[in-house]
Symmetry: D3
Subunit: 262 residues, 6 copies
């Protein structure tokens, strides 16, 4: 896979003058098959383009709650799952990421100790430097908070040497919540505005893999423009000009660890 | 002025079977000349198209803080005020509203007892059934909260028979805060989604009166689409379809008074 | 049933000039048998008096947590359930509503997928235009938040064509939270003040059906007076007068959808 | 003055076995003449009945904003101030407190450095052990937050040895905010429920000194009943009984300092 | 057990002139074996020194989540539980309290109806005048909110005469949340600052019973100093002096019931 | 000035491969002379050690509110200002920063248009890449919020080409609020934890320049330890070990602008 408009991938960013570390790792935990594309496709593409590993844990296919058109077209549950899986795999491939499905059943996605335990295993296997997931509130879709709860709980359990299971314990990677569909109603405040301009074409291609939701292509393009305008307004004076920056917004549930204020 | 795409204006909505009341009155209090167009143009046009009276109190021309292009083009302060006034008057005319300027000086707009007293007089003169103004917070522009404070204080003072000045005291009209540029950073939550589809063409024409801020035409069109999608999602099932509803979002600082839950 | 002091019932409000629609439908989801009377009796009576259908889903009889006097009088669990059922049926009848019991067990009411699924069926059967339920927080009674969670989750599931079960999917009806016993401790803010003056006598009669809780009759009469005073103060000037308006307070967890600001 | 229904006043409560301390001192800072009666009359009476000193600093007479009936009866500003002063003095006397007027002008009450400085002098003179004032928010009456700001600022200034003026510096007395007219809209949460049953008759008599606001007598009696019910529910089990406890609610802007958890 | 540095224990504080009541009872509900020492050791020691009964319900030993050193030293699960139990018992003994273990399994501690029911029994047996537990939020350790939920739910259930089980129903004892490790990230605000100076030596000895966590001895000593400084600053003027007061901070989820403002 | 324990200063960090930019600039706006040392000394030292320019705008000397010992020792106002100035200059020198005094008068520090205008000039002169100031709330010291308001307003005004005055307009530099004395009571949440371990010795030396407040040396050393522990816990697993990281905490009122999530 090559990305014509993307920055050159780097191999294993050397840190602080030592030998090359293993490539950084990003773990994305989502409720439904399409979530990672609309909400974090730019962040995923940026990481992948830097040569980093990105693993997406899709807890369900969104087969009941986010496949209205397919149901109305008369598809069976099995067919819908297959369609959603195939679309998501193509989108993940476009972004340069690996996607794994847990088929836990959506609408409602029920948090269980077993599924949380599977996530602990993924954390320990992928040793993420960064975690992306849904925010804790979403009055329009209870599956998103359910995914959040399991992602957050598994991250804590995976840090404990006393929690059984394969793999090494993890550190405490920073977590970023991606933007819900109705941010103000979900207590979402953009705490990080990520510049995704250079990977925008990649995100757009990934969105276009989700054929059944064509009406969202324009919607999420507009959102990236809006967040780009806000990024510019938070970084420079108001010159009364149009901008062409594209951005994604995130929240941080934990403090940022910094070596420098910037 | 005629509005090809607008609903027929009604004259003085008769209420509850009695004799025709005087036409309803809306008062909009804004900090800068363009604010009422971008943020409340749809609400203004809807009211005007119903035959209601809309009065816009512009506390400043936005001559210092929102006229970057004119300053960079070498205009004088006087010229800039004249340009902003002329644009705003044309936009108000397109919407079917009256605009009044107070030239109180922006960046910063300083709340004073005198300016608040002038607003009390406008309240008593226009006897508003509805008030629109900026929300109480905006970390990007202190003039907006300053306008809010004076609009809110004057509304309370105008209700008191003991507060001196011409005109009759007013009731306690409902207040709607319109959407700031960065809603999540300003504590803005869409509590009312107003369907402005039928007056969208009028709002767009009014926006186009603000020639110097052409880059905002598309921006606020996108916003109306986004708020329209949210309106639909708060009113009907998720059918996986595109919508063509346009909307504006508002907050209510006071409880809604209702005869029926709906 | 006739209501001497009530407005004339209308049959199927015609909307926007078209043919008469089916009567509007209200669904009330509550934890205990008496909740709908104290907290929403006025709203229920208003809807019923307009000729609308009101269905009350009582998840439990409040047999353990809200029947202290009966327990202390030595009644058995079975007797207490029967008493509570009979009282609630009489109160519902007085208000003009239908009540259904789910006998899910209170103190604690445990949210389950099965009970939620039963609520999905009620949503699809009754096709509510309006939903009333408990607010999301109540530190004094965990059954209320439990009922809220199931009512809110079932409302989302019932909208999804992919969620199995009988009946048509529903739209996204507005939700109103009614007032808890200690509003400030439960994060309750009166966002809607509903004028129930014209049905007050009906609500009072319904309250008097709950014989075992006679001490609450005066308490909830006083509350209606207080909310009535606040309604007046949010609608008109402070003239230093007494009012005789009676009101109920509600919260809106979702934005109001409006055709007009008022 | 004798209080038939009140506890015996004590002289200078001896603390921790030492010699009698000077009587405790309470300072109440209010915007308008009647505020201390409706909102804190019970707390004032309780302190006075314990033999403590209570000083009420009334910043204005409430002559413009809270005297609608007098204005409509054609009284002059001077007459209205005289009426309010006389009523408040009688009410203070009934409660056993001293009231002082600053005649700073209401509607709006404007915070000034001079008025704040006068309050610093009162703090240093009265050396309060307890401070009562309005809460920081009140969207219905801007004079209340204005009084709050000055009361709070003066309390900090009065602690500083470097702030000039007569009298000794004060400690950091606890502050209690009393309940506004619309508590939920003013961010008010009852953090302290004070049992005023034993001085209720005194408070009622003080309320009855405010003849022009007779409609508020019942209103604030009902409020005391409601807060009394909540006090009982926060102190004992729900026995399904009526209570006859009367209470007032307060907020604490600063942490409670405790020798024992209770 | 004698405490050289503690106040003399009193036997059954006589209240309001009547016969001696039974000694007051404090119930502490915690997730892990060490929690009561670090977070509430001072409050426990103060109560014990006053001759009151203190019962600590430890839901788990903290065997998986808070025993990293033991796991890395190669201990077995059984050995770790035994070590934690022994340490906690010695610490409870030092404080003058009784500790009971429920061995419900930590990391994650899962709320169940059975465990909640066991807590109801403890409430009814111990008839607490005061309850201490974890706050409702803690993003760093999900076991703490889980313990909070069960402690809070059991407290409500234990008040209901209709909830089955042995023992008498309880009143509504005040609850105090103790301070989490990262207070600002857990929504913790110090609402009560408890002066523990006179029992500091006892708390320190109890901390030293937790040998494996020696690095926390200094940490929690520093915290007590910091809270002591804040206590002083909330009780007196800023004299620019050092203090030697030691304190613990607590939140109150319910209103304080007061006979006097202080 | 040389810093034995500090990293080598770099000269003008080259960015994005271009020619060396001018050294980065940090602007600190504080109310009183000592604030920048206790609250941001580590951030200042880190920037200075990287060869960056740091300018501290001290609005007052803290002569009335934070000089209790000097007043009690009988010093005059003039003497106290001179002492505070001299101490602050030595501390700034130790940190490698420039300090400027505005002598605006403390306790209370009153926001004025003139002082705000002076700050606009400093912004335009120093062209800050980073701004540090007090948070917006502090119930213990009104001067801190006053400084915040002016610092924030001046930052917006300085961005506007229409605001008159010398110098070039600025961009929109990120702002960091430093930690108040009682963080939880001031709405402070650590959103950024800055590792200051490598400049700790420098901060300690700067603190020791403030001779009159010796009791704060230990206090702020303990705070740095505590924030360091939290930094470690937000960056790695809980290994049950002691740490020797020192940190300062900050809030971000505006979103972080990022090229990468980390």
């Amino acid at each position: 896979m090559t990305h014509a408009n993307a920055p050159s991938p780097s191999v294993g960013p050397a840190r602080a003058g030592g030998p090359p570390s293993p490539p950084r790792s990003t773990l994305v935990v989502t409720a439904h098959a399409g979530d990672f594309v609309w909400r974090a496709g730019g962040a995923v593409a940026l990481a992948a383009c830097r040569g980093e590993k990105v693993t997406i844990a899709c807890l369900t296919f969104g087969e009941r709650g986010e496949s209205a058109q397919a149901w109305r077209a008369g598809k069976t549950l099995k067919e819908i799952k297959a369609i959603r899986r195939e679309e998501a795999e193509r989108a993940a491939d476009a972004l340069g990421a690996e996607v794994r499905f847990y088929d836990a059943g959506d609408y409602p996605l029920l948090p269980t100790a077993e599924l949380t335990d599977q996530l602990v295993a993924v954390y320990r296997e992928t040793q993420p430097d960064v975690v992306l997931t849904h925010p804790a509130e979403d009055p329009y879709n209870g599956d998103h908070p359910a995914a959040n709860r399991m992602a957050m709980e598994a991250r804590v359990l995976a840090q404990a040497v006393g929690y059984p299971g394969p793999g090494e314990i993890i550190g405490a990677p920073p977590v970023f919540y991606f933007e819900p569909h109705q941010p103000e109603m979900s207590g979402f405040r953009p705490e990080v505005l990520l510049d995704i301009t250079e990977v925008w074409d990649i995100k757009r291609k990934a969105m276009e893999c989700l054929a059944a939701q064509q009406h969202l292509w324009a919607y999420y393009t507009d959102l990236a423009v809006r967040r780009g305008v806000q990024l510019k307004r938070n970084a420079g004076p108001n010159l009364g000009l149009a901008y062409d920056t594209m951005a994604e917004a995130f929240m941080r549930p934990f403090p940022q660890i910094a070596k420098e204020l910037a």
